[in-house]
């Protein structure tokens, strides 16, 4: 009787298992049918929904991509030559290049695989080219926009630094080729439109146009020059630069090569028991090297530190934060202002107490102090953690991100601006507390910085 019960219960359990299984099956069938309906609606409206959300109430409009698509289809089908896969990728590059450069923002551009590798390498401490950070500055005269190639900063001990290129130098020509703006035809176009107005004599106009043609043919577009200078190619380039305060153009020969840089160098200054720490570049190891330098100086009894941020640019957020954590642990380094009004605080991580520098600090800055180093200097100043000595910084607060594409090329895009820890823009540069112009080998600035250590105000 007992065993019969057991068998009965066993059967019952088995039946229920089967019932459960069946119930699930029917639920699944119903769900799948519902999901299919849902999927169908999503697949036709996905694109619409995605762009409608971003464009807001202005109306659904996804025709631009259709225009692009039909142009591409027409070219593929009807162009006089059969397109090769090389043509196809050149077309993609051309499209991205033109699309991004039409934004007129030198921080937003397309990087082909070679350029993109150079950018990546620089982040990891391998530099190429002449070792200068170049920027494109727009200069407007009347209705003509000229773009100048400006040395924002040089990488310490790199070829440009050794050859004597200085932040602020305006590169006029490379290897005798004059630097031309993005659109070199502006002047010619202007002549032609003026000719329509004034009926200038044909031969006069022709002379103008011929001069322009020669100028353009013998010149080098600004973007091409920039690429030539930042690409490793083992060539020696002759630059003509204009420098503030110098009347004639300066000729500088500089080799473009591949080189590495010691991220941090330091020494103990006998005068005034102070240490000197120089950051040469922000790479992943900079933070740990900086910590080592600090503990070495502390061991030697340094009570103050001169932090040299002259001729220093860029860097990735993380490598900058790894340095900042020894100076401003747990504090705010700055604010990143992003599109559509998003604000994002850049917080410094904490560091063990024995790794935090609590002595006095003075920071050396100059016009070659660009972007993150500027932010670091500004925030150290604002939080009364350091006195700044030297010259006004560059004033470039743009923050850009890189979007990698599948073939090794990339899109660099301006995605925000940096504000100091108190939310102040440093777009016009950070002013030093003690203004000392650079002269000779810059040791005058250093001795002022050492003096500033003694004047106090640098302790928390």
């Amino acid at each position: 009787m007992r065993s019969f019960h057991r068998i009965g219960i066993g059967c019952l359990v088995g039946l229920c298992f089967a019932a459960g299984y069946a119930a699930r099956l029917s639920v699944d069938v119903r769900e799948r049918a519902a999901a299919e309906v849902r999927e169908k609606t999503i697949s036709t409206q996905g694109a619409r929904i995605a762009s409608a959300g971003l464009e807001g109430a202005a109306g659904i409009d996804f025709r631009p991509i259709e225009t692009l698509y039909s142009v591409l289809t027409n070219v593929r089908e009807h162009y006089v030559e059969q397109l090769s896969s090389d043509n196809e990728s050149q077309m993609t590059y051309g499209a991205l290049r033109a699309m991004l450069s039409s934004l007129g923002d030198s921080n937003t551009r397309f990087l082909d695989p070679t350029q993109s590798r150079i950018v990546r390498d620089a982040v990891s401490g391998k530099f190429h080219g002449i070792g200068a950070v170049l920027g494109i500055r727009k200069v407007r005269t009347g209705d003509i926009t000229d773009e100048h190639l400006i040395v924002l900063s040089v990488i310490s001990t790199g070829p440009a630094d050794r050859a004597g290129l200085k932040p602020g130098d305006d590169i006029v020509s490379v290897d005798g080729k004059q630097i031309l703006p993005f659109n070199p035809f502006q002047k010619a176009e202007k002549y032609l439109s003026e000719e329509r107005k004034k009926n200038t004599k044909q031969n006069q106009l022709r002379k103008w146009l011929d001069t322009e043609e020669k100028r353009i043919e013998s010149g080098m577009p600004v973007s091409e020059a920039e690429i030539a200078l930042i690409t490793e190619d083992g060539k020696t380039r002759e630059l003509s630069v204009r420098r503030a305060g110098v009347k004639s153009e300066i000729k500088i020969k500089v080799a473009a090569e591949s080189f590495g840089v010691e991220p941090v160098t330091s020494k103990f200054l006998d005068s005034g028991a102070a240490g000197y720490v120089r950051i040469n570049c922000f790479v992943p190891e900079t933070g740990s090297r900086f910590a080592e330098a600090l503990s070495e100086l502390r061991a030697k009894g340094a009570r103050g530190m001169v932090l040299d941020l002259r001729k220093l640019s860029g860097g990735e957020t993380d490598s900058v934060l790894n340095v900042a954590r020894h100076l401003l642990p747990g504090r705010k380094l700055g604010v990143l202002l992003q599109s559509r009004g998003r604000r994002c605080a850049i917080n410094v991580p904490d560091a063990p107490a024995d790794q935090v520098w609590d002595g006095r600090i003075s920071v050396l800055v100059d016009s070659g102090t660009v972007r993150f180093p500027e932010l670091l200097a500004a925030s150290l100043k604002e939080q009364k953690r350091a006195r700044l000595v030297g010259e006004q910084t560059c004033g470039d607060n743009s923050h850009s991100s890189v979007m990698s594409l599948s073939d090794g090329s990339a899109v660099m895009m301006k995605t925000g601006v940096l504000l100091s820890s108190m939310g102040v823009s440093f777009a016009k540069g950070v002013k030093p507390d003690v203004r000392v112009a650079y002269s000779g080998d810059g040791s005058n600035q250093l001795s002022e910085a050492v003096k500033a250590l003694g004047e106090g105000g640098a302790r928390q």
Binding site: C16, Y69, K197
Partner: protein, 451 residues
């Protein structure tokens, strides 16, 4: 029984419930392998985060060409989401992308003719090809003090009929002052739909006060042809064609008919600075100068040759001794016509080597009102020469004078030489009159490889 019932029923009920649940989720357990795949797939659909710059590079050997449309839309979405800068128009940015894509196709020097036209540019081109526009038909210009004035009211146009005169300075359009505006903006204000009215406020030296004229806009034809008698005694006529559009053929016909009334005996046909135009019109104009055979040969992608033969109905005039003026701006359709004349030996070419555009573009309109011109074929002269990047070398090389002013025929040495050549052809001058001219290989078909 009853006692056992109670302590058995509870565990049994529990067992039954457990069995049901187990049965229900059994599939999940079995399918969990697939489920992971689904999760991963759904993760990929999430918006990607901005990657830091140190993302490892894809192995170079595994690179595939970037798909254009996908990459474009990915970059566009990212721009819309994260770009920090001035607002941009997605349409303008897309137009830039299209221009960049087409420029990369052949490079700026190899194929500048495959190009994109935004709706405004395309509208302008259509007007040029149709040969008419709606407006008042006054040719405007800017004078030395920057004022916009009427250079010339075109014949048979609303401007002419309502009494607008040359040199009238325009002060206002529809009561709005145009001071400081660019001439193109003024033109835009004056243009409009047919049968609508526009009021111009004008200043005329003969009148003490500015006055207004109200003009009804009409469809106005571009003047594509200018003609005159150069030498009435010897019957030497001159026809200049500015462009090959839908009105060129009838205007050319009228011009030659007018000249015939003045006893035309020899013709100078001026194609200088003529950038070309419609292929069919080139064939029609060219037909007037050639007896038979092809005017031009179209070579499609793949190499197939389609000759376009002389249109015999265009043999509606007597043929005259002919000199054709060409220069380095004579392009495309101008080169078809001058190439056909040269290959057939029915006229003498004089001037400098032509532009060298031997490609045919097809214009495809797009839904948003823009259009794309795509090089779809090559064209060859009747003898089979591809003149692309070479141009047509005229029979007599004559450079324009240093002080050549298009508004002053006295400075036009090319025209003067053309008349001399024509006079020799007509037997009015001895052959020796041409000795001073630089003559290229006698029989004509010279296409030097200057690239």
């Amino acid at each position: 029984m009853r006692r056992t019932g109670i302590d058995v029923v509870i565990p049994v009920a529990f067992l039954i419930c457990a069995a049901f649940v187990l049965g229900f989720v059994a599939q999940d357990v079995r399918a969990s392998g697939g489920q992971v795949g689904k999760w991963v797939a759904s993760l990929q659909l999430l918006p990607q985060r901005l990657e830091p710059v140190s993302t490892p590079v894809v192995d170079a050997s595994r690179r595939k060409p970037l798909p254009l449309v996908d990459t474009y839309s990915a970059v566009m979405e990212r721009l819309k989401a994260d770009y920090y800068g001035d607002d941009f128009s997605e349409r303008e940015l897309t137009y830039s992308a299209i221009r960049g894509m087409l420029a990369a196709l052949g490079g700026p020097y190899k194929d500048p003719f495959t190009r994109f036209m935004d709706p405004d540019e395309y509208k302008k081109m259509r007007e040029e090809n149709e040969g008419n526009f709606t407006g008042i038909g006054a040719q405007l210009d800017t004078n030395k003090s920057g004022e916009v004035y009427v250079k010339e009211p075109l014949p048979d146009t609303p401007a002419m009929k309502s009494g607008v005169k040359s040199n009238d300075v325009i002060l206002a359009v529809d009561g709005k002052s145009i001071k400081g505006l660019e001439i193109n903006d003024v033109v835009k204000m004056i243009r409009g739909k047919a049968d609508t009215k526009v009021r111009l406020t004008l200043r005329r030296t003969s009148k003490p006060k500015p006055f207004s004229i109200t003009i009804t806009r009409q469809v106005v034809q571009f003047q594509m042809v200018k003609s005159r008698m150069l030498d009435e005694k010897n019957g030497i006529g001159y026809i200049r064609l500015y462009q090959f559009n839908q009105k060129s053929d009838t205007q050319f016909d009228k011009a030659i008919t007018d000249l015939e009334k003045e006893r035309l005996r020899g013709l100078v046909f001026d194609l200088r600075a003529n950038p070309g135009g419609l292929l069919q019109v080139a064939v029609e104009i060219g037909s007037r100068f050639i007896e038979s055979g092809p005017v031009v040969i179209i070579q499609e992608r793949g190499g197939q040759r389609n000759p376009m033969y002389v249109v015999e109905s265009k043999h509606n005039h007597k043929r005259y001794p002919l000199v054709v003026l060409v220069d380095k701006s004579s392009a495309s359709a101008s080169e078809i016509v001058s190439g056909a004349i040269k290959d057939n030996g029915t006229g003498t070419l004089l001037g400098v080597t032509t532009f060298g555009k031997g490609r045919v573009q097809t214009i495809m309109t797009l839904d948003d009102g823009s259009a794309v011109a795509i090089t779809t074929a090559k064209y060859l002269t009747p003898k089979g020469d591809d003149i692309h990047h070479k141009g047509i070398r005229p029979d007599y090389i004559v450079e324009a004078a240093e002080d050549f002013d298009p508004n002053d025929p006295a400075t036009d040495v090319q025209l003067a030489r053309a008349v001399e050549v024509l006079k020799v052809k007509m037997g009015l001058l001895p052959k020796s009159a041409l000795d001073k001219l630089e003559k290229t290989a006698a029989a004509g078909r010279v296409v030097t490889g200057e690239n």
